[in-house]
Amino acid sequence: MKKNRKDKILDRRELLAGMAGLSALSMVPPAFAQAAQAAAAQAAASGKVLVILELSGGNDGLNTVVPYSDDAYYRNRPNIGIPKNELRIIDDHFGFNPGMAGFERLYKDGKMAIVHGCGYENPSYSHFTSMAYWHTAAPNSGDEYGWVGKLADSIAPSAPSNYLVNIGSRQSLAVKSEKHVPVVFDNPDRFTREAFAAEKEALDIVPDIGEVENPSRRFLLDIARSANDASALVRDAWSKYDSPVDYGVNDLDLQKVVALLDAGMPTSLYYVSYRNNSFDTHVFQNNLHRRLLTYTSDAVAGFIRDLERIGRADDVALMIFSEFGRRVPENVSLGTDHGAANAMFVVGNQVKGGHYGKLPSLTELADGDNLAYTTDFRKVYQTMTQGWLGHNQSANLLGGDFGTFDLFS
């Protein structure tokens, strides 16, 4: 008989059958320890994990990694340009925004790659549109599925459970997948059905797939079970998680990623974001932006340290992006407007730190006084899918072969 998703879940259930369940209410007790062992074995076999952090709103790359040695920067930003003596200098040309102690440390430890000038042809200045392009890896076009979803479909077409995790208030287009069911949740403690007290017991029952013929019905029963199981796994992983590492004010859900990794969740692809268009700094940028970057920097630095604590630091690479950068000249409200090309960051123990890509010119600006892109962002995507995850069929999901940067040791 052809192996399908139902069989995968049955196998796991057979494993679990002997164990006492944690939840008396579920008909299929999620015996967590057993599942964790099985999952950890699977994870070790598959190896690498990719985490994507989306900074929504259009992060101002120029005030993040400041090209202080270029006068054009200060000419364009007489008010919001950051003076050299305030910067965290990393070399003769660049310094990080003063709030980014974590990034400075990571860069100097050789764990951070900065890819300059990432963007795409004919950029859109709309948050929604440009973010959709980044989510689908289909700029100036469209796709029903996200690039991370397509990646999952391509690497693991048999679609094992819990392969993709998206932490957020709703499912991102980036993880929308044809075959996989992404685990999407926000608050692990609330990753459970919102039901009235009287109903809870009734709702926890998921019937056996058994003799069910209707394939759509089988799929939905799988989903229902996955909802119960995944939510139980997530809640348990979170309740067991206890870390001394300081992530700062806003961990950007990276603690949840570590919690799931530590619990042996068989997930290869994680997607988190700094939400609500927070980086959309049109007015009075500097203090706000510095705060946002501080939180981001602290969270990422904490994440790497926490990964080292649980012994998974060599398995994980983190990619950071935003839907566009911001205009080179400041605006009249001491802020910046929507721009185009931007820096991307790749962080991890296996990363060969340094600068990558070609620096966009600050004097020969593209349409609307914006940075002209020098690297198609899909090259960075391919660097992660092919260079890091070792997946050679990237051309299909990215709509072309964009090559890779030699980013990993």
């Binding site: 029903e144 999407v184 019937p207």
Partner: protein, 611 residues
Amino acid sequence: MLRAPNRLVCLAIIGFALALQSSAGTAENQGLVTWQDDLAPIENADWNYETSAHLLERAGFGGTPAQVEALAALSPKAAVNSLVNFDPANNHHLQAFEHSGIHDPGLEPFPPSRPATTELAIDTGEALGVRVKPEGNRRLQPVVNKFFYWLRASRLETNRVAYWWANRMVASSNPLQEKMALFWHGHYAINESKVRDYRKLLNELKLFHEMGTGSFRDLMVAVAQDPAMLSFLDAGVNLKGAPNENFAREIMELFTMGVGNYSETDIREAARAFTGWNYVDLDFVINEDKHDDGVKDFLGHSGNFNGIEIIDLIMDQPVTAEYIASKIYRFFVREEISQALTKELGNTLRDADYDVAILLETIFLSKDFYSAPSVGSQIKSPVQLAVSTYRKLGLESVPGVPDFNQATGALSQSLFRPPTVAGWAGGRSWMTPGLLLERGNFARDVLFPDINFLPPDRVNGSSEIRSVADRIRQGLDITSATQPSSLGEGGVMAESNMLADRDEEFNTRYGSFRGWQMAIERVIPIPRHTARLNLSKMLEDRGVENTSEAVDYLLARFMRVKPDNKTRSMLINFLSEGLGTTSITEAQSYMEDSLRLVLHLIMSQPEFQLG
């Protein structure tokens, strides 16, 4: 397949449990499995309540038992005919969309961005029908306010258009017209956040209503010349010498033929034929001096083709009829369609000269449509889920609480806001564990309205904007009021930190706040009534006497695919415990709450998601 007998038994039980008139033949549908891919019409003898319910669910949004019974009383041909070849006079009770009156001619043409608007204002002294102040601080503020006003007002008005349409979906006597419009809406996907003009979206919807079941060729031409699509695909920047391929590409890749049936050269040549196509306000225009009327080589033909001729050449391709026919099939019937069936349906559509109604008749009358793989196998889209739930509850309008757009958006489908030009993926992508839980939450919000509901067309979703509003009311100057909060998102700054009001041309954040305020002054509020429900009366009218009958009635009325016996027993026990008795007659005066809880449980079942 050996499992067929189980299904027949199951069907017989369902037919039995209905306790409604059901014609002979329910348990005798041995043909169900062998009917797959058979386009021959279903026989009168096989027509019954179940087939009618299936037809109404797919060709429309389902209905009450009475509405299904009405269809079952007709012959299959008459039933399908009444849905597909609908009479517009049936809908005399439906109103036209009531405009709030937010637009004025000064807003045309609307610049592509706020910087473009302020630049225009600086250059010419005026923009959006608003003059730049000759002197004083923030001379451009009124212009900027108007810019944000239009963005907010158009978005709110688009939500009202969505509500108007959802109301039609619930109340229309011609549900196929609305269902077909929904199909075209996903096919010709455009998004409000780029178009930024509710009027264009409303006009495009009108095309789908009026031409949705007519000639696909005529519809394609109409949409290609519709300002909404032209604006969305940047056709206006498609000029001789610099043709914009986006328009041509999407027409061929997404709207007619699909990838792989044309070359990149074809795209470039087609783009040349569309040069000069533009719009002024709501009217299509061709700028002849921008049009490239040279010879184009397209799909093996040569000539001075214009845009319409390109479309006709596309229609001549065999693949076009197959592409559209199979897409319509997948929307109404099931995801998997064989090559042979694709060809057959393509032929049907082509032989009918692209008349969509004829294709629909063929599909809805076919045995394949009523075959086992086709029935009860579709995951309801969020809009289908909401509308069919309202119809089956017997509502005549869409409740204002929960907010329709918020509810369907949380389930990942917002009318007028498809994620990309490729529309919604549909099928299984409507479902994830989180979304399954959300569907249960939607049902809860309908049956037990949230008393803390905040209308999104009054309360602004951004805490930053609300913070600006508070600080302005407290008397802070604009500079202080728009400082990003140092107490985290949305926290209000202490008054002792007030800064001197800056000299500036304009303040964007203030414009964002004031624009919202101006918008809600004008946009008609969405009525916020809840669903008028009386489940007790519903059961009483049907003469239900005990909790088993009650559950069976609800299962039959609301579910196209029934859950297993264990679930049925659980529901009956749940209801009996809640009522403290198994007698419905006894519990008459207090059973509404328990009935709603049971219905919530039913609507949270995985099987409820199937239509």
